[in-house]
């Protein structure tokens, strides 16, 4: 008994109690990172292909993605038997991608060396054995060995052709469409001008417009013809794959993105496939309603929105904090405002989304459209969700954090330093600009770091004000004014939600949720790291004397 009392007096139980709370917290955070990393990073690693023959004679070929005990409550075999989940691919042939197989029904399991895993443009993965290559009814390869030999060359050519097609389709024809659309809007604007000023002669403008439109239309025809020719030339080679149970699929070589003989890959070969997939994921555009391809537009959209948010939130927050701390007469009113600002940080983010939609999008954006873009109406330009409104709404959401941190930073600047400046004949503004703000800059940046961490991860308000599942264009491109703040954009946070829960092929998309989450984390960490490095540099620079 006295031992317990002694130990209580020394405070040992408290040490254990508090220490374990910290331990649990760290364990949970570490667990989060481990779960996301293990689930996400393994996704791109090529798995062996297993051919499973069941006792009833049916054959399946695919990657084993899961193994679990079969639940059968109330029976003796409850959780005694195992089943495996096979990713069989070939959705166009079977109508499903994944198949559960009970292990006690399996007669034979083998790893055929000719089995290929093929990533293609649509219908998800194709898993089968290449048996022939044909070009316009002319057979280039008649057996598996020859077809396998031809495959790498075909894939390389397909990639080059796809680049050529994309260049014409997206960039050249895209540019032409952009100019035609511009001309159309300009013509509508002239109509509006003509209506408001009936006497004005607009024939010269109209003529110029008609000429531009005709030129672009001609260009469009030429490019479309070029594209068609290219497609005809590139799209003539077909590879025939035989699926496990004997069905055959002729696949246009142009549609093949990647193909490898999974069971024959060396360790280095696997690593090659892994890196190439990872690179495609980071730098590519999404395919197949986001379940395949890359997340580059989402990364770009996230970073750009956060940067825009910072550009807005820092001046706004710092100026507000300056007023509260330096200029306002400290009293009940300022105290109330301060409490209100603190509480603003706790308002649910979706509320800000609703506000952003009602105020920025409909009111401000609608107003801008009526004033500056009447020719495009009823199609809204700024009167719909866009990256600018998203950034502004998030700035509003995070401004309390910046205000609070900036206020603390300003309050921490010693009074003696201000007095020194004022006693030199500096005005209050000069003192703030030359002495107070530089000394408070590291603290202000701490606020910015917190704001970025919050803003980058926010999804709910964005869904109302500009985030989309698939944005055809980035908000930054080669057309004046280069930065298109009215455009909708993609966001990693929303991408996670979309891929995981809105996708037609949930089982295939599940690992992508984790992989995307990793990238969201990486982006947030990188953005924060940048700010932290800047802050430490400033701290070093504005270190005060020896006191």
């Amino acid at each position: 008994m006295s031992d317990l009392v002694k130990s209580l007096r020394r405070g040992e139980p408290m040490i254990w109690f508090t220490g374990s709370a910290l331990g649990i917290s760290i364990l949970m955070i570490a667990g989060l990172i481990v779960v996301i990393l293990t689930n996400g990073l393994g996704f791109f690693w090529p798995k062996p292909l297993e051919q499973v023959t069941l006792k009833d004679g049916s054959v399946f070929l695919g990657e084993i993605t899961n193994r679990e005990a079969i639940p059968n409550p109330g029976h003796t075999d409850h959780l005694r038997k195992q089943r495996i989940l096979l990713r069989v691919g070939n959705r166009d042939l079977y109508g499903f991608d994944f198949k559960w197989l009970n292990e006690d029904e399996i007669a034979k399991r083998e790893h055929p060396k000719d089995a290929y895993f093929v990533e293609r443009r649509e219908y998800g993965a194709l898993i089968g054995v290449p048996v022939a290559v044909k070009e316009n009814e002319r057979t280039l390869a008649a057996d598996t060995a020859a077809a396998r030999q031809a495959l790498p060359g075909l894939i390389g050519k397909a990639e080059r052709d796809r680049h050529a097609v994309e260049r014409i389709e997206k960039h050249e024809i895209g540019d032409i469409n952009y100019r035609i659309e511009k001309a159309r809007l300009e013509a509508r604007r002239l109509d509006l001008v003509a209506r408001s000023e009936p006497g004005r002669d607009l024939s010269r403008e109209r003529e110029a417009l008609a000429k531009t439109t005709a030129e672009q239309q001609a260009l469009f025809q030429a490019r479309t013809a070029e594209l068609q020719a290219l497609m005809e030339k590139a799209g003539t080679t077909y590879v025939t794959f035989q699926s496990a149970e004997g069905g055959a699929k002729e696949l246009r070589s142009l549609d093949i993105y990647r193909a490898y003989a999974a069971n024959e890959l060396s360790w280095l070969g696997r690593l090659g496939v892994y890196t190439s997939r990872l690179w495609e994921f980071v730098s590519g555009n999404p395919r197949e309603s986001n379940t395949e391809g890359g997340i580059f537009p989402a990364i770009f959209g996230t970073v750009m929105m956060v940067v825009l948010m910072c550009i807005v939130v820092v001046p706004l927050g710092v100026l507000a904090a300056l007023y509260l701390r330096e200029y306002a007469k400290q009293g009940t009113l300022v105290r109330t405002v301060r409490i209100a600002v603190n509480n603003l940080a706790g308002v649910p983010s979706i509320v800000f989304g609703v506000f952003g939609l009602g105020f920025f999008v409909y009111f401000v954006g609608g107003g801008i459209d009526r004033l500056f873009f009447p020719e495009a109406l009823p199609t809204p330009t700024f009167g719909t969700g866009g990256i600018l409104w998203a950034a502004l709404t998030l700035a509003l959401l995070t401004v309390p954090v910046v205000i609070v941190a900036s206020e603390e930073a300003l309050a921490a600047v010693p009074r003696s330093m201000r007095e020194a400046s004022l006693a030199m004949g500096a005005t209050k503004f000069q003192t703030i600009l030359n002495v107070v703000l530089p000394a408070a800059a590291p603290g202000i940046l701490t606020g910015l770091i917190l704001a970025m961490a919050r803003g980058a991860g926010e999804v709910a308000p964005l869904m109302l004000i500009g985030v989309v599942k698939l944005a055809p264009e980035l908000p930054l491109d080669g057309f004046f004014p280069f930065l298109h703040l009215d455009r909708k954009f993609m966001h990693l946070g929303f991408h996670i939600y979309d891929v995981g829960f809105q996708s037609p092929n949930v089982e295939a998309a599940k690992p992508m949720v984790y992989t995307t989450a990793i990238f969201l984390l990486i982006i947030v960490v990188l953005l924060n790291l940048t700010a932290i490095i800047v802050r430490n540099k400033l701290r070093e620079k504005y270190k005060t004397g020896a006191f």
Partner: protein, 284 residues
């Protein structure tokens, strides 16, 4: 051979040398004073309902050192801060009575507070250099006055640092910050900063209270040199310091000026009983 100051000033012997110098300086005849530089007439000050200065009337002479002494809370620092209106920074302060610095009415509505502070420099109890380079610290006052000419700034920087006896110690690292400076060096940097704008008056609010004896003596030596050009008002708790550096001393008690006269008289034959008690250490 002629020995310059710099040759002799090794840290070890500074203390002794300054002592003799100070002694010598106080014996030397002072340059003629131009008459009263700062005139205070019935100066009163109240923080809200707390009346802290009562009818202070005193003149501080041109190119002389006036020391303000007295126990804590007697109002000597407050009076000092009245002279360049630093009390404006505090809410709820009322000042009445007349203060004139070189004929300029400090408290008049028409007087620009920036102008006053430019003419009346101040050195604080705790040295407060800005987190900037030594150079930028010194030229701060010029920069905010809108002077950007490099040559002017360089010249002012060297002149002020020489004036504050700091030039030889820092001339090779002007662009570094004062990190690693001793307290005395930092205080001299603050003095250099104050004299860079060429004020007429320098106010010192216990400039040596955070310094060790050797650094204190260096500052005192500096006050002697500065006296040739500037009118100095110094608040100090250190009675020996007041006796060493000042020409006239004012003794404050509970917000009232008890006695004001030549330092030598004040410390040898105080007229007031309170002054005598304070000086002899019976209270305070």
């Amino acid at each position: 051979m002629l020995m310059t100051n710099d040759d002799v000033k090794t840290p070890r012997d500074t203390g002794l040398r300054i002592r003799t110098e100070v002694k010598a300086a106080s014996d030397a005849p002072l340059p003629p004073s131009q008459g009263p530089d700062i005139v205070c007439r019935d100066v009163n000050l109240a923080y809200g309902d707390n009346h802290v200065l009562h009818d202070i009337t005193m003149d501080m002479e041109d190119r002389r050192v006036t020391a303000l002494i007295g126990p804590s809370g007697c109002g000597k620092s407050t009076l000092l801060r009245c002279l360049n209106r630093m009390n404006d920074l505090i809410d709820n302060v009322r000042t009445w009575g007349e203060i004139k610095v070189k004929g300029l009415d400090v408290n008049a509505a028409s007087t620009d507070v920036i102008e006053i502070r430019r003419r009346v420099g101040m050195v604080f109890q705790k040295s407060n250099p800005f987190p900037k380079s030594i150079y930028e610290n010194v030229v701060y006052g010029l920069r905010i006055a809108g002077i950007g000419d490099k040559a002017t700034l360089d010249e002012a920087c060297e002149r002020s640092l020489r004036g504050a006896a700091l030039w030889d110690e820092v001339k090779d690292r002007l662009q570094e910050n004062g990190l690693g400076f001793s307290g005395g060096q930092m205080q001299r940097l603050c003095i250099a900063r104050a004299i860079a704008v060429e004020p007429e008056v320098i106010l010192m609010d216990e400039p040596c209270s955070a310094l060790d004896p050797i650094a204190t003596l260096k500052i005192e030596e500096l006050i002697y040199e500065l006296k040739e050009k500037y009118t100095i008002v110094i608040v100090t708790h250190n009675l020996q310091q007041a006796a060493r550096v000042s020409d006239k001393t004012a003794f404050f008690w509970l917000g009232r000026l008890v006695e004001f006269g030549p330092t030598a008289e004040m410390f040898t034959a105080p007229k007031d009983k309170l002054t005598e008690d304070y000086i002899t250490g019976r209270f305070g």
